[in-house]
């Protein structure tokens, strides 16, 4: 890419070149980058003005000295320094590493401090600890969250020597053999990792050193993040990977000037991997994925308009994004499921969510002891073969609408209400009912195997009702007919008759070709097999098919899946929801059929499990009749109107209260509001005067009248606003922080499911970034006009060299320009407020011992139920 060759006649604005003469007006100084890098990071945007501009002053250094190319993060490779001879030299050479190191050590302290204090199962440790046990025992379980986080919990258990034997009952005491402290420490390590990530992200976003310190301190001292990281929960991992994704994205953004470089590829791929990881912990990760997606779309739209990119380069850009941001994350996501299936190869509590074939391949499953071929009189459970399908179920409760007869549903857990008998239709004479023999007639020694087009009744074993349908609309899917349980062993009518239609067999293919319609006996090859034969049940009278969709019944149906009789146009393809197979099968007259089955393909299992997860996630809607005291509404979060008791509140218990550091939460939310106003103000201003400083020269008086609306920062700046670079940097950080916040917040407002305050924790990160960004914009990046600049007082250098002479520090401070002193004041006030509130509230995260009344002054807001 030779920039010099493509300087075409663009209407450049003359005075943009003047900026080079004033390096001290660059918005950022940070010892972690030299100025050319600092300058470059504010580029990357501003394409519509002509992409050529940037090469004139930004990358000039790079072209002169291509050997000193940046290695990562926009930072140039350091010139090789001579090895340090003294400690002081060593420290100076590694100065940039000191703050993150210190913060990481502090994070270790806050996260690990008294981590094992409460020796009981706190809050959702009950769930996630249990899932870890399942991994260690390798039993198949089902949960709405993807498996990566829980596998890592399991790994922590494995590494700390936990044997999986504890059942993690909520509030129970940990027995001595459960190494809960070690497990908590391992998971809290993710919480420690958040702090340096915050620091480096701030650096990569081009914030000043001040702001970077602020971000790191806020991540360090928020009691919400602290509290949630200290237990056996998924949130620390979710937060860590969310932070990691933002970090990788910022890194990648800084590589934009060198496309297809090694670093560029690295960080693009890292972003993709990070997306995959965060989504594999909790589906909330999709929100940060959306952030990356929107960033990428805008980026590609800019590139699409860049006429200097050849079609080949365009294609390469698109291809790289598709590969790294779509394919890699999906592969990572699927890989976690693959590992999940590999580990969990024993039968467990989650079996019924999966297909019969999958279950049959789990150790400890008894399907292979069941008889193979289905006969009249067999007792069976019937599984829907659609993705996410459950077992046909009925229970004594009745429909409150329609026929008011007994409910028939689809259910995802195994109990005896899933059991049905195949009985012959009412019109067949020999309908003597004798469960003892498992046959319709004890005297009839001959077993009648079921075949294609046989007419049967499906009799519910516990209630003896017949599965029945009639011309009453189903309760939810009104277009279908209702299916209910009706009558008993002796009462019934033709509406109980179902025609068995065999669609084929998963293993044996089309078995109907062996049927001989004339013959009285059934060809053994045409018989219906448990697990593998795909069946449909057609209502003999109505012609509709027994069907289970994805619609859940309301609360009166316990949120189980609705079963209805679906009308079908003749000749159309059988709908997924109408296909069933026999799962468990009991028939005393038939021998158990030991056999080995082929495995169900991974992709099928993967889709199956994901659809099941989605279905049960959607069923987690708040029950209007039950008030959940722990749940809260999204609008209660930003200003911290509520908190959450994480455990019992007895005087002798160690109590944890999930809330945030009020200064950080309120400050973040307020800064979002201010940022909205500032952004609108700036956009309006650009519409009026165009982008860049002085590109259009308005009348000065109209300018002054206007600038008051945009706040002090603009008034305090020379010219009529921001330079192209300042604008690009401001806008980049604003959209990452603001866009990220909106993407993490709005979905909670829209979706109907129950929400808790910890759902706001990933969102909070973006509020924190915005907080620091705004302080940066209004205070820390305001250029100092006098010659002395921030460089004069790197705090660390004072502490090293001048510790002995405090008066000298004061004198140095007084001699600083006014703006620098303001910066110091603002910074110290903010930091003390953050640290002060953290110290005030530390007990809620470190554990409140003794009666809660003894800890004074915690209930700052009315709704915080700390005391009552």
């Amino acid at each position: 890419m030779n920039p010099g060759g493509r300087a075409v006649a663009v209407d450049f604005v003359e005075d943009e070149f003047e900026e080079i003469g004033y390096p001290e007006t660059l918005p950022t100084y940070s010892p972690h980058m030299d100025e050319s890098a600092a300058a470059r990071r504010r580029l990357g945007k501003g394409k519509p003005e002509g992409a050529e501009e940037k090469v004139w002053y930004d990358d000039e250094d790079d072209y002169k000295a291509p050997s000193v190319r940046s290695i990562s993060g926009g930072r140039p490779a350091q010139l090789a320094l001579p090895p340090p001879t003294t400690l002081r030299e060593f420290i100076f050479q590694n100065m940039p590493s000191i703050p993150p190191l210190v913060y990481t050590l502090l994070a270790c302290y806050t996260r690990f401090h008294r981590i094992g204090l409460s020796a009981t199962v706190v809050w959702d440790e009950a769930h996630f600890g249990k899932f870890a046990s399942h991994y260690l025992k390798r039993e198949f379980y089902f949960d709405v969250h993807p498996p990566l986080g829980k596998m890592l919990v399991g790994l922590a258990g494995l590494l700390s020597g936990y044997n999986g034997g504890f059942d993690f009952k909520s509030g129970a005491d940990y027995p001595p053999e459960v190494p809960y402290v070690a497990m908590r420490v391992m998971l809290a390590t993710f919480g420690v990792g958040m702090v340096p990530l915050g620091w480096f992200t701030a650096i990569e976003l081009g914030m000043s050193q001040w702001a970077a310190h602020l971000v790191a301190l806020m991540v360090l001292f928020d009691v919400g993040w602290l509290c949630i990281s200290r237990f056996i929960l998924l949130d620390s991992m979710l937060l860590f990977f969310t932070f990691l994704t933002v970090f990788c994205l910022s890194k990648f953004h800084n590589q934009q000037s060198h496309p297809f470089d090694f670093d560029w590829w690295t960080w693009l791929a890292m972003t993709g991997i990070s997306i995959g990881l965060v989504t594999s912990v909790k589906m909330v990760g999709l929100f940060v994925t959306a952030l990356v997606g929107i960033y990428t779309l805008q980026d590609l739209w800019d590139k699409f308009g860049d006429l200097h990119l050849t079609p080949r380069e365009q294609a390469k850009h698109w291809g790289a994004r598709v590969l790294c941001l779509i394919i890699i994350p999906i592969l990572v996501f699927m890989a976690t499921f693959k590992i999940h299936f590999l580990i969990l190869n024993h039968s467990g509590p989650g079996d019924a969510q999966m297909s019969s074939l999958f279950q049959a391949n789990l150790y400890g499953n008894d399907f292979h002891n069941n008889p193979l071929e289905i006969a009249i009189g067999s007792k069976v459970t019937i599984k829907n073969m659609a993705f996410g399908g459950g077992l046909l179920h009925s229970h004594v409760q009745t429909y409150p609408t329609g026929s008011n007869q007994q409910q028939v549903t689809c259910y995802h857990y195994k109990d005896e209400n899933n059991e049905f008998w195949f009985w012959p239709g009412w019109d067949q004479k020999d309908t003597v009912w004798d469960p003892k023999y498992g046959s319709h007639d004890p005297n009839d020694e001959e077993v009648r195997f079921l075949k294609h087009l046989d007419v049967v009744r499906l009799v519910h074993v516990p209630t003896t009702r017949n599965i029945h349908s009639h011309t009453i609309p189903a309760p939810v899917t009104k277009a279908n007919w209702e299916v209910s349980g009706y009558g008993n062993a002796t009462i019934g009518d033709v509406q109980d008759h179902w025609v068995v239609e065999v669609l084929g067999d998963v293993v044996r293919g089309d078995v109907n070709r062996y049927l001989e319609p004339k013959s009285a006996t059934v060809d053994p090859r045409a018989r219906i097999h448990a697990l593998t034969t795909r069946l449909r049940f057609r209502h003999q009278v109505l012609g509709c098919y027994l069907s289970a969709g994805r619609t859940s019944l309301p609360q009166w149906g316990f949120k189980q899946i609705e079963v209805s009789c679906a009308k079908e146009e003749a000749g159309s393809k059988p709908a997924e929801g109408t296909i069933w197979n026999v799962e468990s099968h009991w028939n005393t007259k038939l021998p158990p059929a030991a056999r080995s089955l082929s495995r169900s393909p991974f992709l099928t299992d993967f889709i199956h499990l994901n659809i099941a997860m989605m279905t049960s996630n959607n069923a987690l809607v708040p029950d209007p009749d039950k008030e959940d005291l722990l749940a809260s509404k999204p609008w209660e979060w930003p200003f911290l109107s509520v908190g959450l008791r994480m455990c019992g509140w007895g005087d002798s218990q160690i109590k944890y209260y999930l809330m945030g550091n009020p200064i950080i939460w309120w400050g973040g939310s307020i800064s979002l509001i201010i940022a909205a106003f500032v952004s609108v103000g700036l956009v309006v201003r650009r519409q009026r005067y165009g982008g860049g400083r002085g590109t259009r020269k308005p009348a000065p008086n109209s300018l002054n009248g206007d600038s008051g609306r945009n706040g002090a920062a603009l008034a305090s700046r020379p010219g009529d606003g921001l330079t192209q670079r300042e604008w690009a940097q401001f806008w980049h950080v604003t959209r990452i922080a603001g866009g990220g916040w909106i993407l993490h917040y709005l979905p909670f407002l829209i979706m109907g499911r129950v929400t808790y305050i910890h759902h706001y924790l990933p969102t909070l990160y973006f509020a924190v970034l915005m907080f620091a960004h705004l302080l940066d914009y209004f205070v820390f990046q305001v250029p100092s006009t006098a010659s002395a600049s921030l460089q004069a007082v790197p705090t660390s250098s004072i502490s090293l060299s001048d510790l002995s002479s405090i008066p000298k520090i004061i004198r140095t401070f007084r001699s600083l320009p006014r703006i620098t002193r303001i910066k110091v004041y603002v910074f110290s006030i903010t930091v003390s407020a953050i640290f002060g509130t953290f110290w005030w509230f530390r007990a809620v995260a470190w554990g409140i011992e003794g009666p809660v009344r003894d800890t004074w002054g915690l209930a700052w807001r009315e709704n915080w139920n700390i005391y009552h």
């Binding site: 663009v10 519509p48 009278v541 012609g543 039950k626």
Partner: protein
Amino acid sequence: MAGTGKLRQRVPVSGRANFEYDRIQEEEHTDDVYQNPNNRHPIEKILETDKASVVVVAVLTALAFALRFYKINHPDQVVFDEVHFGKFASYYILGEYYFDVHPPFAKLLFGLAGWFSGFDGHFQFENIGDSYTQNHVPYVGMRALPAILGSLTVPVVYAIMKQSGYSTVIAAFSAAIILFDNAHIAQSRLILLDATLIFFMSLTIYAYVRFQKLRYREFTSEWFGWLFATGIFMACTWGSKVNGVLTVATVGVAVLIDLWGILDYKKSPSMDYFWKHFAARAIGLIVVPFIIYLSFFWVHFALLPTSGTGDSFMSPAFQETLAGNEMLLSAQEIRYYDTVTIRHKDTKVYLHSHVERYPLKYDDGRISSQGQQVTGYGHADENNNWQIIPTKALPETGRGRIVRHNDMIQLLHVNTDTVLLTHDVASPLMPTNQEFTTWPRDDTSRFNETLFQLSLTDAHDGEAWKSKSGYFRLIHGQTRVSMWTHTKQLPEWAFRQQEINGNKNPSEKTATWFVEDIVADETGEDPKERTGHQPPKVPKKMNFFRKFGELQLLMLQHNAGLTASHPYASGPLNWPFLIAGISFWTENDPQKQIYLIGNLVGWWTCVVALSIYVGILGADLLARRRNNDPIPEPVRNRLWNSTGFFFVVWAVHYAPFFLMNRQLFIHHYLASHLASALIAGAVLQFILSETINYPISVEAPTMRRHKRQYVDIGLKGPIIFALFCIAMFSMFVFLAPLTYGTPGLTGDQVNGKRLLSSWTLHFAAKKTAEVVP
């Protein structure tokens, strides 16, 4: 090419900024366009004359009247929502207060139409199918109003297109889509609000187009005239139906885009210029419409001075302004030791108690306190009597004995001599709420748990508690729960009466109660006379703005609350494709029915046009991003700005329905359908010809003259129009029996009319083949 470098950044706003640019463009395409109007096709020349235009519009209007008035007296029965809107018209004539979610303008018009045609207001439009002729209702006069407005919509659509610079044929094409549309016709022939809404909405569009055309002659009287016209029509739209607020939003969006362009330094060098524009629009499009909107309500309140069906929706203060209101007549201050009956505001049950106790153990295994039951009971009964016991010292007589806001009281159940109590025991049905029970009066061990704070709604300190009008919450002193009830019944052990429990939510709106009656005072006498002889009460006055505010809030709440399912409700995604209609009315004997469904040809044409339009814009956007310039500037200008405005109209009248949870019907799409008809015309023009009438804006005297261009579609325009009209008309005639409700259809005919399987027509012949006996 000099302008290339700027192309990508150009925002296609029309206005002064583009003069230079436009000129370049224009000259580039000089060869392609017809500069000389006399070179056009002879048909085009004839059609573009004013005379031809008048003839076309006259024919369209005459046809529109004919189609809308045809058999307007049929059916002579109440159809669909005439139940509501006819009733409201009668209330205006009678002067009885009613409540409805829609603003009053269109209903006032119906009242006026009824009054003109001699309706005395005594027919109540109770049920669909009630006969008008038997009840001597001049319904034709009332139906004529929407029919006239619906007919006039057609020439307005024509005028919008004509003013936007489209040729006569194209304008007629758009008008024909509305003219022959079964849904618009069916909706305009009945006493429904939509015809008014759509008529004024189209007028708003028309006025705004005229206003925009004058943008180079800003601040002239003409310019102001159309600005205010826009505002006035907008207010009428909004005042007709609550959906009209979308028209306000449309104009708002358009104005914002417009102002955004003016903000540019190049267009308004001084900010004063910008603020002048801003102020003109603020007055014309916010202040004026709002005053008009308010005036509708002022008339509304002025016409409805007496008590009616709407009373109970309103606050006590409001109700006391209505003559003959029960609350006004019998509200009385309550004193300590009065015996009262207390009712729940929403479910209207009395606070009740009886000697039976809660069972020790409930079915789900939870344990109760086994205290005396406190329930909600629907009927008058001795056990509903409660006496108010003070917790403070009282003077012997006089006004000091009045119970006031925030007083701490005890409630004594007179029959069992026990006082009301609640405690931290789960209620029978809801484990999260507290159980209410009673406790012997003389046992003071739990005195503190029997104290309740009386909190009157919207009250000031020291306000007296009144029967009927004093809505209140009863808040338990110790646990701060509010006494609450809900419609769930208790089991047999409590005689299936309603559960009363303590709700922990301090802001629960449904925890509101009122005193129905003062049964006796301290001495056991009837208290009616204690304040001496009272003069007959006159309705109180209330500030108009407070009335307006209260009604507006209630309208919003009730509108959002219309979530019950309706058999003919349909989702927004179905509307443009006509997936389902609404059955308005049926008559069994000759199997007649009215089914609201649009003209399939017209609606699907609109859908196709919309997708083509979006496709063109997308392609243009992508092409210009790559610095290609496929569309001549004037044509693009038309597509983005003029048609773009129609598209905004369509989108703003359509998209919000996707976010609404209330029940939605296909007639909510009619406004958007009208906008899509405008887009269909624009797209047809774009497809047929590259030529265009340009410029169409009125130029300022100081401006350099544009070279004029003229559209020339030629012969293909009229031919396509004729073919389209034939197709539209055939489809219209085919569906007409469903639109006019006559003639009756046999079952097989009904099946024939069922063009989409999702249409749920009545009297369809049953298919019997599938059913096996």
